[in-house]
């Protein structure tokens, strides 16, 4: 295991307090993210309760298989992230770097699937603002569905992308031996962030892909 010095920042009395503060800080940050996404979930709730039929029709145009696969991939990535945190705690440097890399890989796969879904919707004329030609039932409110879909999955995708950046940084630092059993706080709080990003998707998936499946498209 590589030698590293544990930096106790001057404002803290001891290492315990420092770790405590960092973790607490990340939880507060995640609270802000809940409110951030919450605003959009609120819009979704209002519009879905006003236009349930249109939302159902919109949902039927989303690819259920791709959606389910990307959900599975993201959940697995949370698992690999948790394994990574565990490796850090036990000082297994190579495993840590490996698990971080796997998580990044799965995240990238998620984004690829997402982008191809977006591309398909564009081709079908279902992308408001760029190419929206749907004209069957209640086009106005179906367009609203897709506005919300792209806004929310777009915001989520940006968080995934930022997450990839964070995890890549962590992987590089881990490779250089910055972490060990007595100091792996950045890995832990990156893990918290990653699990949050996964959790948001676990709400997004059923709300967008699984509603009104009994309706005919």
């Amino acid at each position: 295991m590589a030698n590293h010095t544990l930096a106790l920042r001057h404002q803290f009395d001891d290492v315990e307090q420092q770790k405590d503060a960092s973790t607490f800080g990340m939880w507060i940050f995640l609270a802000t993210e809940v409110l951030f996404f919450g605003g959009m979930f609120c819009c979704y709730t209002v519009y879905r309760s006003k236009f349930p039929v249109a939302f159902g029709h919109g949902s039927n145009h989303l690819d259920l298989i791709l959606g389910a696969v990307s959900t599975a991939i993201l959940i697995i990535s949370s698992f690999t992230m948790a394994c990574g945190v565990n490796s850090a705690a036990t000082g297994a440097k190579n495993a840590l770097v490996g698990f971080l890399s796997l998580t990044i890989l799965f995240a990238a796969a998620f984004l690829v699937i997402e982008m191809s879904e977006w591309h398909m919707l564009y081709k079908e004329g279902l992308m408001p603002g760029f190419n929206f030609t749907y004209n069957e039932i209640d086009p106005g409110h179906v367009q609203l569905f897709f506005c919300m879909y792209f806004a929310m999955t777009g915001l989520h995708a940006s968080h995934v992308t930022i997450g990839i950046g964070i995890l890549a940084t962590m992987a590089v630092r881990a490779w250089r031996g910055a972490f060990g059993p007595d100091y792996y706080t950045p890995i832990e709080i990156s893990g918290l962030y990653w699990h949050f990003v996964d959790l948001v998707w676990i709400f997004l998936f059923p709300l967008y892909y699984l509603i009104a499946r009994h309706l005919q498209g």
């Binding site: 803290f12 503060a21 607490f24 236009f51 603002g129 367009q143 919300m148 806004a151």
Partner: protein, 539 residues
């Protein structure tokens, strides 16, 4: 009597020199001064816009500037004053400086994030300034849709991006304070021994952290709708413009508590020091701060009584709005009771505290008027509302801010301000303020709407009074700007505790050393315990 000595010890100002030592500092005290410089700049910029507005309103027709320029002026006045001045003001300057000191800590929990906060704030401010120079925005600070998304032809997105960025600064500051107050108090400093300023800052931070993300996502949706023509609030697509108002006010109502709670915290400190008594009803005042923060999230719909929300929703919001008035009233009564049988000195900070209590009372009472349903229908969107919020923001927060600046100036800079000039400007500000804003209550009830560039003749006399007041007020603000800067070079040197105040910040040097305390203090007594001070002096 104040005795002063030339400081010979190393302090945070003299510890390092050079631009880099300031721009890359991690010292919360230096970061506080960085913020002080920037928010002062934005204050005077917003003030210039207010001056032009008041000059235009001297006469009924629109004859000074064009209609669109006027609309841009009041929009930018609001945006700059709310987002770039009031929201950061006390937390980022006095809060940053004194929260660690008052709890006996060496710094905030995350000093690098603190510095990042300032850079983010500057980036947001720069964005807004750039938008302003390109032509500004004319949507009002409230950005109502569909005007802002589909009809305005000004720099809505750019300004929105600036506010979005500045919002992150607010969130990070709040996050820093919450963690610091929870985890870094000196040994023995339990929650109920904390000074009331800390309680206020804690409550403020809760609101900053939970409320700001909602305005962020709202601005994001407006920008996305405007930029990519995604109709989220667009009625033509079945979108709901009133949904925007719900999202906007969900943050912007608690935001006013972000603006006033820190001011209340300062008043608690000042009233205690200059009466040499514990604040009456300490626990009540402490809990009131938290109650205001929590209840403040439940009342946003009182901005929307005529916006076409249901009558029943309006009833609920009106009812809850009266609840949020109660803790503020409790504070006013407790401060007044603190004066009873105290030993009251008339130093400048105390004069500002008197002004705050009186003007906040009027502002708060008019707030209860606005919470009253039938009454609000008549006066909403009129000058009555403008008068109400200026009584709280300017008569309240800004006075508290100036009081706090005077109170803590010796600690921050090691210099005293000139007391005579300070008292004079406090008086000028008080008189100028009332002359400016009291006539606006009358204007509002008479029916003068807000955001009007030209108005009917019969309103002129009140506008003339208001503008006259504004000119006095402007002078009142310029005087401290001048003497504070003057005092940096020529002010008397300040002792460590010129006011004989309790509080950990007064137990270190003026100005403090970089590490705040040479030895970490251990606290065994309540806040505002002046008898302890006696013992410490003797012992």
């Amino acid at each position: 009597m104040i005795t002063a000595t030339v400081p010979t010890r190393d302090n945070y100002l003299t510890h390092e020199y050079g631009v880099k030592s300031w721009l890359l500092t991690k010292d919360h005290k230096r970061i506080a001064l960085l913020y002080l410089a920037s928010i002062t700049f934005f204050f005077f910029l917003g003030g210039i816009f207010a001056t032009i507005i008041r000059l235009e309103l001297l006469t009924p027709p629109g004859d000074l500037v064009s209609a669109q320029t006027y609309n841009k002026l009041f929009s930018l006045h609001g945006i700059i004053m709310v987002f770039l001045f009031l929201i950061p003001s006390i937390p980022a300057t006095l809060g940053n400086f004194f929260v660690p000191l008052m709890i006996g800590a060496k710094d905030l929990a995350f000093p690098k994030i603190n510095l990042l906060s300032w850079y983010i704030y500057m980036a947001g401010g720069a964005c807004v300034l750039y938008a302003m120079l390109e032509g500004g925005v004319d949507t009002g600070w409230t950005f109502y849709v569909p005007f802002s998304t589909s009809y305005a032809n000004t720099y809505v997105i750019l300004t929105g991006v600036g506010i979005f960025i500045a919002g992150f600064s607010s969130i990070l500051t709040g996050l820093n304070f919450i963690v610091t107050i929870h985890r870094m108090r000196a040994p023995g400093l339990t929650w109920f021994r904390l000074p009331l300023f800390i309680w206020s800052m804690y409550a403020t931070s809760l609101i900053q952290v939970l409320g700001t993300p909602v305005i962020a996502v709202t601005i994001l949706l407006v920008a996305v709708e405007r930029g990519f023509h995604l109709g989220i609030f667009d009625p033509a697509l079945g979108g709901d413009p009133v949904l925007f108002q719900h999202l906007f006010w969900f943050y912007s109502h608690p935001a006013v508590y972000i603006m006033v709670l820190p001011g209340m915290g300062i008043i608690s400190e000042v009233v205690s020091v200059y009466t040499r008594k514990k604040v009456f009803g300490y626990r009540f005042v402490a809990f009131s701060s938290v109650a205001i923060a929590v209840l403040g999230f439940l009342v946003w719909g009182h901005h929307m009584f005529v916006a076409s929300q249901s009558v029943y929703a309006s009833l609920v919001f009106s009812f809850l709005s009266f609840f949020v008035a109660v803790p503020s009233a409790i504070k006013v009564f407790n401060w007044t009771a603190t004066l009873y049988k105290g030993s009251i000195s008339y130093d400048t900070p105390m004069l500002y505290a008197f002004g705050f209590i009186g003007l906040f009372t009027i502002g708060g009472l008019t707030g209860t008027f606005l919470a009253t349903l039938g009454f609000d229908v008549h006066v909403t969107d009129t000058y009555f509302v403008v008068a109400h919020f200026h009584y709280i923001m300017v008569g309240g927060t800004l006075m508290a801010y100036l009081g706090g600046m005077h109170y803590w100036w010796p600690k921050m800079t090691g210099r005293m301000y000139p007391e005579g000039w300070a008292k004079l400007s406090a008086l000028v500000i008080f008189l100028g303020f009332n002359l400016t804003f009291f006539p606006q209550f009358i204007l509002g009830y008479l029916g003068m709407p807000r955001r009007y560039w030209a108005y009917p003749e019969e309103f002129q006399v009140y506008h003339v009074l208001s503008t006259a007041g504004a000119s006095v007020l402007a002078v009142g603000y310029l005087i401290p700007a001048i003497y504070f800067i003057w005092s940096l070079r020529y002010g008397k040197f300040a002792p460590d505790n010129p006011w004989n105040a309790s509080g950990l910040e007064w137990q270190t040097t003026s100005p403090p050393p970089p590490e705040n305390f040479e030895i970490t203090p251990v606290v065994t007594y309540d806040a505002y315990d002046y008898s302890i001070l006696e013992e410490m002096k003797v012992g």
